[in-house]
Assembly symmetry: C2
Homo-oligomer: 189 residues x 2
DNA sequence: TCTTGCGGAGAACGAGCGTTCTCCAGCAGG
DNA sequence: CCTGCTGGAGAACGCTCGTTCTCCGCAAGA
């Protein structure tokens, strides 16, 4: 098998295992077994476990952004796109295996011991904040609206995970709607 | 030394070490060294590490609730008490060693491997949600306001930790203010 | 056919760590 | 003085796991 599919199979296996059981709980042997790629090749592609974890997070960030953007295309206004973010979250929270935001979980688990993981988490959160600020600006809201949407999104992910309910997405959506309408200049509907 | 101070010294040491470095990164030997309590006595009081971690979290929850309540006493209205929650958060986020919500971090680290820790985290979040719902009801807001405040609080904790800025508390405070005013019946000022 | 090197399987190594055990000092009671 | 108990210090045990090493099959080229 060529390197490309070997790398993808490793990332697929690691992503699932890390998310389901936590990064530290999963051994490299389990990733070898689940991916079918030998340890030697695995270490040839990813020289250490935390770099594999960081690579998993960075790929997941790209997929998350693409998936969210795809869900939002076709929505007519910036305002409906903002609300669409929370509909997207609801569908995610409602999936059977939802266990919280993988980036927040990785931060809680590894921030004290792996700088490459924390850097990947930080980059994902900055990208998400920038994306939401863009939507907020498109909707004619002030910069603070972007920050508030970012807080709502992260709070909903935590609340849904710990309290075992996807309803947090609906509560956050309602809050976002009120915030959009409350801010002085909401140009578009 | 009697059991009471031994237990307190263990909890003090474990709380600091667990929060600073993560639960799994801290060995029982380090807790023994930091607390000055022998391993034998330590295991006599807490039969396993995850039960010690759960005990740390439950005590921290009690202290957090008391500290928050003390910060809110004297504030004249439910509305100002709600805003006071976010002022309280700002002061916390601005402390040098802030590393996120210890309960969220513990959840990310241990939810797959320790039921006693996840139970302690869940109880803390339910208590916090109930407290905020009480404030929201006192302020004349609908039940959804309580849920939204809960989401804002958790989102602010995550955002402040990962983005290294206490400003998230101010953004969340501004959002809370808008939500209070946006909700139909805001009786008290 | 012989050689050479790549890559797979998995054993091995070394460190960390949760938990238990051993040893011993000190002290209370007979 | 002897006995037995409590509790501290820390060695020891057993397991996990990240990482590396060894061995071997096999395919490609001369």
């Amino acid at each position: 098998m060529d390197d490309r599919t070997a790398e993808a199979r490793i990332l697929d296996a690691a992503e699932r295992l890390f998310y389901d059981y936590g990064i530290r709980s999963v051994g490299m042997d389990q990733i070898r077994d689940a991916s079918g790629v030998s340890l030697k090749r695995l270490y040839g592609l990813f020289p250490a476990k935390d770099q594999l974890a960081a690579a998993v997070l960075r790929r997941r960030d790209r997929e998350f952004q693409q998936s969210l953007a795809a869900h939002l295309t076709g929505l007519p206004s910036p305002r409906s796109q903002i609300l669409g973010v929370f509909d997207f979250l609801y569908a995610w929270f409602d999936e059977p295996g939802y266990r919280g935001c993988p980036f927040v979980n990785a931060f809680g688990e590894m921030s004290a011991s792996s700088s490459s993981v924390t850097a990947a988490v930080e980059d994902q959160k900055r990208a998400l904040a920038a994306f939401l600020s863009g939507l907020a600006a498109d909707a004619g809201g002030p910069p603070a609206l972007g920050e508030q949407l970012f807080i709502l999104v992260n709070g909903a992910m935590v609340a849904a995970a710990i309290l075992h309910t996807p309803e947090a997405a609906k509560d956050a959506r309602a809050a976002a709607l009120l915030l959009i309408e409350a801010h002085p200049a909401d140009a578009l509907t």
